[in-house]
Symmetry: C2
Subunit: 184 residues, 2 copies
Amino acid sequence: MAHLNETTLDSTMLFDGKIIRVEKDTVLLEDGTQTFREVVRHPGGVCVLAITDADEVLFVKQFRYPHRTVTMELPAGKLEYGENPEACGRRELLEECGCRAKQFSYLGKLFPVPAYDTEVIHIYLAKGLEFDAQQLDEGEFLDVERIPLAQAVRMVLSDAYPDAKTQIAILRYFAMDHVKGIVR
Amino acid sequence: MAHLNETTLDSTMLFDGKIIRVEKDTVLLEDGTQTFREVVRHPGGVCVLAITDADEVLFVKQFRYPHRTVTMELPAGKLEYGENPEACGRRELLEECGCRAKQFSYLGKLFPVPAYDTEVIHIYLAKGLEFDAQQLDEGEFLDVERIPLAQAVRMVLSDAYPDAKTQIAILRYFAMDHVKGIVR
C-alpha cells in the first residue's frame, strides 16, 4: 500500500434518506491493518455571495434545526441529481432571495467535513442583481437581509456568522482585494 | 408557533457509531405543518492555527476517505466527552505535530454543516511553539508540513486547501490584520 492511501474492502449502507445517505465501510490502511470509516454521503451544494450595486451582501436568516438556533447565512442549496452547480446557484438565489444576477463567477470550493462527509460546496459571486418575488419551497421559511460588505466582514471576525460557507465566501472575497499577486 | 422556529415532535435514532450518531426527527414548522429532519450528531471538534516564530503555519497532510484524496489541513481533532476545547486543541497539536505552545488563544467557531449536522468546530491560535516527537494514534497516518503564512493565504485563495476549518482559520487571522476597528 502507498503512503497516505486507503482501500475500500466492504461498504454497508445504513440509512438512505432524503438529504443524506450513511455508510459504514471497512478499509485497508497503509500498514496492512483494517479499520471502519463512517461516511455521510451528500450530493453537494452551492452557495452564492450576492452583492448589490450599493455593496450590500444578501443574507438569509433561518432556523437551523441541528443547532436549535437562527443563523445568518448566504443563500445556498443542495445540488439536484445531475444539476450544473452554476444553474443550482442561480436557482437558489432566485428561490430564496427573488434575485437574478447579470454576472455570476466561480469563487472556489470547500469540504465542510472532510473526515466523514462527502459534501463539496461550490461558491459563486453574483453581481448586477435584479429583484423579483421570493419563490420558497413548501415548508421553507426564511427572511432576506442586506448587510453592507464591510460590516459583514467585521461580523464574521466577531464570530456572529458561524456558518462555514458564509465565512469562507465573505473572507475570500475580502482577502482577494488585499493580497498582492492574486488576480480576481 | 413563533416565526423562524421548529419544535421536535419525535426523534428516532438510526445509527450510533464511533464518530457520529444519525437521527430522523419529526418536527412542527411555524405554519403548523410537520416535516422530517435528518440530523447527524457529532461531539464537536477543535482546530489549531499554529504559527512558528518564522511565520510558518503547521499543516497535516493526510488521506481523507470520503473524498478519496490527500488534503492539507490544520491540525485538528474531535472533542472527547466532556473535554475542554482548549485542552483538546493542545492535545491534538501535541499528538499530530509533536508541538507545545506557550500562547494559545481563541479565534472563533464554525458550524460546518448547519443544515443537517450538530458539529461545532472551535479554532485556536497557537504561538511560541516548542517541538517534540509526534504521538499519533494507532491507525493514524499523516505528514506534518510547514508553509509560510503569506503563501498559505495565497493557497487558500487559489482553492488548494478545500477543508473549511483550514480556510476559515487562515483567512480570519489574515483579515484581522487588514480590517480597521477589529482588535485582535
